[in-house]
């Protein structure tokens, strides 16, 4: 920290410039795309409710819908947040802000073509737009790996975030191989399709999204609850257990050894316990006694993560006959990853918009605070409906119950629409487009 204080230029007119963050329109464009995809996901979810909730994963429409959520909504939003948060958390600039800016267009074109190609299972589209998307995600992950390698701020949070981006590179490599096998270009690997698919899901959902959530929670939760002086000894154990769990499960997928599945499940359950302890330390030492609704949503996602780990352990000990891994994947994607992203979005998006539009002092202008942009308590019903919907959809996948599936889908649909409406209102599309114009 001393290094930061020493590095400042001080003096009239110079400001105190330690800013290493990219211009706000860079993260905001990714977040805006993420929000649009959340809205599109909600629309398509209403059309595909039954097969999605029951996770009929082989249907092209469901493959497309799942990737609309993971690639279009979650990854896009998370990329924007990572570009902003990493520079703040690790006191570093991005290795290339220009690449981050321009890569958005590559990514947007890739997603716009890939999702419809998946839904129609159009092989040429899959090949062309799949390649574009893989390239864009690889550029993003490589950019972050290079940036993170240069920072002097080290520790479990850094290792979580760095590992996440290395896992993402591996996940898209697996995705590219899956597309090539499916297209008949690699017939010799076709026997490995199932373990490769499991590897892709484990690396993307667990190795990337979960690692990022675990790592950044050590920064975001203390920041938004004003927590100081909490114990951090469990963070390194969380990192070790996260790696152990991920790699044990991947080796199990390739070897088919039952005992390794169980060990991976035990490691995941132990990780949930350690992470629960880490979060409890932060919350215990908070100075804002009232925990705001968005952070309550994030805590609900952490509880869901504990339930998810128990479910995973249960399924590794007693492998399911009919439902397979559907409830586990459903619960992780919706109840853990999406809920955490939505909870933090209520804090991050208004802050970015405030910084862009209202942080500069203007003589005579009305003072605008973040509370003027959004009443965060309005997040409560949205996040509550979403978590109930996520649990409902996981239960539907487990019980193969169409009625519960409709119930869960309806709640998710409603929550996502209100969420998108609230976020777009904060962003104010007309202003966002105006700020964006002429920047590229």
């Amino acid at each position: 920290m001393q290094e930061v204080a020493d590095g400042r230029a001080v003096g009239a007119g110079s400001g105190v410039n330690t800013s290493q963050s990219p211009p706000i329109h860079v993260p905001l464009r990714y977040m805006l795309m993420g929000l649009i995809c959340f809205g599109l996901f909600a629309v398509d979810l209403a059309l595909q409710a039954r097969p999605f909730a029951l996770f009929d994963a082989g249907l092209p429409a469901i493959v497309g819908l799942t990737h609309l959520l993971t690639l279009g909504a979650l990854l896009s939003f998370v990329m924007g947040a990572v570009y902003q948060l990493s520079t703040v958390a690790f006191l570093m600039p991005l290795a290339s802000e220009r690449v981050a800016r321009w890569n958005f267009w590559l990514y947007a074109v890739g997603i716009a073509g890939l999702i419809p190609s998946m839904m129609a299972w159009w092989r040429w589209g899959l090949a062309v737009f799949g390649a574009v998307t893989v390239l864009a995600v690889a550029v993003y992950a490589a950019l972050m790996v290079v940036s993170l390698a240069r920072t002097h701020v080290r520790g479990p949070m850094h290792d979580f975030v760095l590992s996440a981006h290395i896992h993402l590179l591996l996940a898209i490599t697996a995705a590219a191989l899956l597309l090539l096998i499916d297209g008949g270009a690699l017939p010799s690997l076709s026997a490995w399709f199932a373990p490769l698919l499991a590897t892709h899901i484990l690396l993307a959902a667990g190795g990337y999204f979960l690692f990022l959530i675990l790592g950044f929670s050590y920064k975001l939760l203390p920041m938004f609850t004003l927590s100081h002086g909490f114990a951090t000894g469990g963070q390194v154990w969380a990192l070790r257990l996260a790696h152990a769990s991920l790699w044990l499960l991947m080796v199990a997928a390739w070897s088919g050894v039952w005992f390794l599945w169980v060990l991976g499940g035990v490691a995941a359950a132990a990780l949930a316990g350690v992470q629960g302890w880490n979060i409890a330390q932060i919350i215990k030492k908070r100075m804002r006694k009232k925990v705001e609704a968005p952070i309550q949503g994030v805590l609900a996602a952490a509880v869901t993560y504990g339930l998810w780990a128990l479910l995973l352990l249960l399924q590794t000990v007693w492998p399911p006959a009919g439902t397979g891994w559907k409830p586990v994947v459903q619960l992780e994607l919706m109840g853990v990853v999406a809920l955490t992203v939505m909870g933090f979005a209520y804090k991050i998006v208004p802050f970015l918009v405030w910084t862009q539009r209202y942080s500069k002092p203007r003589p005579g202008a009305k003072r605008v605070l973040i509370a003027d942009l959004i009443q965060v308590e309005r997040a409560r019903p949205v996040l509550a409906a979403f978590v109930l919907g996520a649990w409902g959809m996981a239960a539907a996948a487990w019980a193969q119950s169409p009625v519960v599936a409709w119930f869960g889908t309806a709640l998710i649909w409603l929550a996502l629409w209100v969420f998108c409406g609230q976020m777009l209102r904060v962003m104010d599309l007309r202003k966002t487009v105006k700020e964006w114009t002429g920047r590229d």
Partner: protein, 100 residues
């Protein structure tokens, strides 16, 4: 000669956008002194290292202080020692945050 009380009052117009409390009542302002005639030195901190509002807050403090009569130059120094703690807040701020 700069009226340091006036500077302090002026800094009360700078709010932490997230918390909604001004930087003086939050206890973020450690020192205000006139080094030379018309030259103001302000030492401040943030509620957390790596605070995303770092730049906007320090710039707003610099701008607000520069509005006071007699101020020709402002030096704002953000320090981390001593680290900020809730005891540094005013009673009103502690009450608003539910700390009391």
């Amino acid at each position: 000669m700069i009226d340091l009380n006036e500077v302090r009052e002026k800094l009360k117009e700078v709010y932490d956008p997230e918390i909604g409390i001004n930087v003086v009542d939050l206890g973020l302002i450690y020192k205000i002194e006139e080094l030379d005639e018309g030259t103001l030195h302000i030492e401040m901190t943030m509620t957390t290292p790596g605070c995303p509002a770092h730049d906007s807050l320090s710039e707003a403090v610099e701008w607000a202080a520069a509005q006071v009569f007699g101020v020709a130059m402002v030096h704002v120094d953000v320090v981390w020692d001593p680290p900020w703690s809730p005891e540094m807040m005013s009673e009103e701020a502690q009450r608003l945050l539910g700390f009391r």
